[in-house]
């Protein structure tokens, strides 16, 4: 079955590149935006400690979450288009399993996300303060863990959402509040106690906390709760979507 997975993944990459705006929208636009923003804001970074902290931790986490989110949204959209147009129905009449289809699309998204992030890092290097050291390997690993966990929530939505027209609003209604409450834009410590409790059960909060901590140089052991939360979300959502996956 692995042969089918690789071939489907490779094929989906090619098909994605044939889409009008496929590669441009998902890779080139974010990189160009990043470079432009870096040019505008990067100059004073070494002088101002607040700006420096923002460049070192804030920007990468924001970028990572944004790219991750757009990958999840596009996964949900693609699967719903496949369901709506009958592609899934046709694939069902083969020995192909649902997880193979989802995995292939996740791989495609990961490959394009990795390409985008790598290009950003290359292009953004000269706007960063020279003494900045990013724990690249740890951050990549943390990013992968977060992506799989958030992606698994996407699986659940993608497994049932009936048409492409509903896919974006439903996914948005689920993900945007999570991001709003994740501490990315507003410090959790300043929220009311009830809301703070809510943020703690949202997976995106743990993703942001993990990414931020790793960038700040924290040890993995300092983020056991985040890792456990993300793992639980992944296991539960993957199992759930395997059960409720609808072909048509």
């Amino acid at each position: 079955m692995l042969r089918g997975l690789w071939r489907l993944t490779w094929l989906e990459i090619k098909i994605f590149l044939r889409e009008p705006l496929g590669a441009i929208g998902s890779v080139i636009v974010p990189v160009v935006l990043y470079v432009v923003l870096g040019r505008v804001m990067g100059r004073g970074a070494t002088l101002d400690p607040v700006a420096s902290e923002f460049m070192r931790v804030g920007v990468p986490v924001l970028v990572a979450v944004t790219i991750g989110l757009s990958a999840v949204l596009s996964l949900i959209t693609i699967i719903s288009i496949y369901r709506e147009s009958g592609i899934l129905k046709r694939l069902r009449a083969t020995p192909l399993r649902p997880w193979t289809i989802l995995t292939a699309h996740v791989l495609v998204k990961l490959i394009f996300t990795a390409a985008t992030v790598s290009l950003m890092m290359l292009a953004g290097r000269r706007y960063y303060p020279a003494d900045l050291d990013i724990p690249v390997v740890s951050f990549t690993l943390a990013l992968l863990i977060c992506t799989f966990s958030i992606m698994s929530i996407g699986f659940v939505i993608a497994s049932v959402v009936p048409t492409a027209r509903f896919a974006q609003p439903i996914a948005g209604a689920i993900f945007y509040p999570m991001i709003g409450l994740s501490g990315l834009f507003f410090p959790i410590a300043l929220m009311p106690a009830g809301l703070q409790a809510v943020t703690r059960i949202l997976p995106v909060t743990h993703a942001v906390s993990l990414l931020r901590g790793i960038l700040q140089g924290n040890a993995w052991s300092a983020h056991v709760t985040d890792l456990a939360a993300l793992a639980v979300v992944f296991v539960v959502c993957t199992a759930l979507s395997a059960r409720i996956f609808r072909w048509e």
């Binding site: 089918g4 071939r7 889409e19 129905k89």
Partner: protein, 306 residues
Amino acid sequence: MSEAVVRVTGFRKTYGSVVAVDEISFDVRDGEIFGLIGPNGAGKTTTLECVEGFRTPDRGTISVLGLDPFRDAYKLQARIGVQLQQAQLQKRIKVWEAVHLWAALYRRETADGERLLEQLGLADKRNAWFMTLSGGQKQRLFIVLALINDPELVFLDELTTGLDPQARRAIWDLVRGIRERGKTVFLTTHLMEEAERLCDRVAIIERGRLVDIDAPEALVRRHCPQRTVILTTDDAAAETRFGAIPRVEAVVRQGSRYTIRGHGDDFVTAVIRCLSEANISVDDFRTVHPTLEDVFLQLTGHSIRD
């Protein structure tokens, strides 16, 4: 004597309070082209999808190649080929890529994709995107995909719907070709002409019930024994002579043209005998044979197109 490849017994399926299929039983035999025919909404696709393992029956049992199609779905899918009604592929997938992908999905030795493309007249389209293909080309590609795993049993659901007559005929030849290769074909259609020309046996279903099942000719013989002979002659004595033919039911004259209706297999022979005995010379002579369309009308009281 050929064994049953598909065996459906007492099959019933409801959607909510609507009974889609009610107590249907039939066999599909090895090596035949079997047609499930009936108007849209009669329960053809429901039956087919349960046999293919996409849905479960509410009651009754279905066995396909000795397997339970729902429980053993993955095992079964390796051995069958399926062409679905209204299926699509990725818009920008190329023809050869689809064939290549499908070939990778099966464990067992697959058929030669390039040869199949050639046989189905798609060789010059192998680099075309799916979205650029015509309706007939898409159908032919789906037939290629249904045959790629060299299946023992092929399901074709409303194969030629929406195709022009020329493309339809070409597809019929292809389906006969599948049978020549020793495979069993199970198809559904609402086109009586298609069923009559293509199928070795047909099951007529209407409103979820099986009305009758047999070879098309046998169904015609059983339900529509009427025969009609149309001929032209200037013989003045012809009309009274025709009226005396055994089992004649009506003789209608329009000028020199006679329409003679009767029933029974030997009615046409009786007309010919009458002509030769009375020495009537005819200008034109043809027989009108009832078709499956007439059988359908007879059995259900309405035309399939209603």
